[in-house]
């Protein structure tokens, strides 16, 4: 008798447990569904239509938006600018971040915390504020940079640092490096501090000190963290928006347009929501691809 009733009470226990887990998961999954997963489906669906910000009629255009995007010069400029920012940021932020971290880890002792705090500080300032500060510093009329450049006898760019289409994207790249190199430095410093110090002593006995120790010991031992840093920078490079929106708005003449700002421009200024969705899908594919790569490398590590 009891043999038949007891298994039921066991599954009763399990069912109660399952219900608890489901209840604990629901709020998070609900939010993710509404603001991440459903929008992903909508962005793909919407990319097949022509529709405006407020209009109620959606015209099915198939892959028309994609054809339009791939034939659009500005789309390619935006993609190229994203790539410039990605590669440039890897060189500047990860590169200098590594150097700064290495020096702070083993090169200097006095003032280490102070310098780390200062270099990291821009990370807690919003990109909007960073953009505005630099906008003023680089301003052709009142900016202190021009005053300094003129003061040492050089000529600043005639159209302004951000107004000259041939250099503006590089200036933006520099501002981004100003803001984020400290973050990379802290990330890499955490990795360096996990490297046992005695391998440096062993390396010194083997004749590897200074630069050679950096090359043969330091870099290989933080390989995984460097990969993570490069991936974070890459993802960040494709997501860049605030800084460009504030400093140049994508101009002059679309010279600093990136996918993020172009999506915003098309959707909310021009009102080409379907076209913006098509570009979003491209950005989405890049982001998911990079995310997958990140997962794969972190699994391996």
């Amino acid at each position: 008798m009891s043999q038949t009733s007891r298994p039921r009470s066991r599954s009763g226990n399990l069912a109660a447990e399952k219900l608890t887990y489901a209840a604990m998961l629901t709020p998070a999954l609900l939010l993710l569904a509404v603001f991440v997963f459903i929008p992903v489906a909508l962005v793909i669906y919407g990319s097949l239509f022509d529709f405006g910000l407020t209009s109620r009629d959606w015209t099915f255009v198939g892959l028309g938006n994609y054809v339009e995007a791939f034939g659009d010069d500005v789309f390619w400029i935006a993609l190229r600018n994203n790539l410039i920012i990605v590669i440039g940021s890897i060189v500047l932020q990860v590169g200098f971040g590594t150097l700064l971290a290495a020096v702070l880890d083993r090169g200097v002792r006095l003032g280490r915390t102070l310098m780390r705090t200062i270099i990291f500080a821009p990370m807690v300032i919003s990109s909007v504020a960073v953009g505005l500060i630099w906008l003023i510093i680089l301003d052709p009329n009142v900016g202190p940079l021009n005053a300094v450049v003129k003061g040492v006898g050089l000529t600043p760019p005639k159209l302004g640092w951000l107004g000259d289409p041939s250099i503006s994207i590089w200036v933006v790249l520099g501002i981004a490096a100003w803001q984020y190199t400290g973050f990379m430095m802290v990330l890499i410093l955490a990795g360096l501090q996990a490297v046992p110090k005695d391998i440096y002593q062993a390396a010194a006995l083997d004749g590897a000190t200074g630069l050679r120790a950096f090359w043969y010991i330091t870099l290989p031992s933080i390989r995984n963290i460097l990969i993570v840093a490069i991936l974070i920078t890459t993802v960040g490079g494709f997501k860049v928006f605030d800084l460009i929106f504030v400093t140049t708005g994508g101009g002059p003449a679309n010279s600093t347009q990136v996918l993020g700002t172009y999506i915003y421009l098309q959707a909310f200024n021009i009102g080409e929501m379907g076209f913006a969705n098509a570009i979003s899908v491209v950005l989405l594919l890049i982001a998911v691809g990079l995310g997958w790569l990140q997962l794969k490398t972190s699994r391996k590590a």
């Binding site: 489901a22 998070a28 603001f35 992903v40 202190p144 955490a190 605030d242």
Partner: protein
């Protein structure tokens, strides 16, 4: 000889980090300095010191509503972080304790959500928010903020809960706690470091969030600091000292908190590499 070489190397290394620190410091210092200058002295002598400690720019900036923006930011950031920590904590705990493989599968789904940038789903998120009548609602803005903060926080808590000593939970079960009571009375009180780390990271992120706030909050009264200070630029077309004063008001509080608690900030953000 060795000694001298050592000194030279050390000088170069100090020079390098010192120069970078200076490069970071100067724009921030300039922001504060320029806030005290007058419009006139800005034009005549951009790099000169202010003639006097001149608080008028701060008054003008405050007049635009920096105080209101700040309250909005505090409100939105606080609520979002609370929601993120609670929802992520519950979800991560359930995921680590669920029997079978379903926990791992849902975890992967959430990790996938981490890869989706808001820029790529801007149009549908705007449609959803405006469709639900959530435009210009600070409380509603908390929902997408929470959604985008959850994946990273779940990942952080997941690792923490996996390492949590099982014996404590078993002791709690023997003491009569249900799963949820165990979570509430034993796990949460002992998750201080993980919660602090998550809260700091999300606070910095949400305090500075721009693009969603730009889309959702269009009425000045509801704006958060990042969109609010952009208003300064439009308001004072050539009043750069007022813009700088506004920026100083907007950035200094978090900068000060950061300097005071930099150890925790650094630990929190460095955890991203793991």
């Amino acid at each position: 000889m060795e000694q001298r070489r050592f000194k030279a190397t050390s000088l170069v290394l100090y020079g390098f980090t010192g120069l970078w620190s200076l490069m970071v410091l100067i724009p921030i210092a300039y922001m504060i300095m320029a806030a005290f200058k007058t419009k006139r002295s800005m034009f005549i002598d951009p790099i000169g010191w202010p003639d006097a400690l001149n608080w008028e720019s701060f008054e003008r900036a405050w007049g635009v509503g920096v105080g209101g923006f700040m309250i909005n930011s505090v409100l939105v950031t606080f609520l979002s972080v609370v929601v993120i920590v609670i929802f992520s904590g519950m979800a991560a705990y359930a995921l680590t304790r669920m029997p079978g493989r379903s926990g791992q599968i849902i975890y992967l789904l959430i990790v996938a959500g981490f890869a989706i940038p808001v820029q790529a789903v801007l149009v549908p998120v705007f449609q959803i928010m405006s469709g639900a009548g959530f435009l210009n609602s600070r409380l509603a803005l908390v929902l997408p903020y929470a959604a985008y903060g959850i994946p990273f926080t779940v990942i952080l808590f997941y690792a923490f809960f996996l390492d949590f000593p099982r014996e404590l939970e078993e002791a709690a079960r023997l003491d009569g706690c249900t799963r949820f009571q165990t979570f509430l009375r034993v796990i949460l009180p002992l998750s201080g470091p993980a919660i602090a780390s998550a809260a700091i990271f999300q606070s910095v992120f949400i305090w500075n969030e721009f693009i969603l706030a730009l889309l959702i909050l269009t009425k000045p009264a509801f704006k958060t600091l990042p969109v609010g200070i952009l208003e300064l630029q439009g308001e004072f077309t050539s009043d750069w000292p007022a813009v700088m004063a506004g920026l100083t008001l907007a950035t200094l509080p978090l900068l000060l908190i950061f300097v005071l608690a930099q150890k925790y900030f650094v630990r929190s953000l460095a955890g991203l590499g793991k």
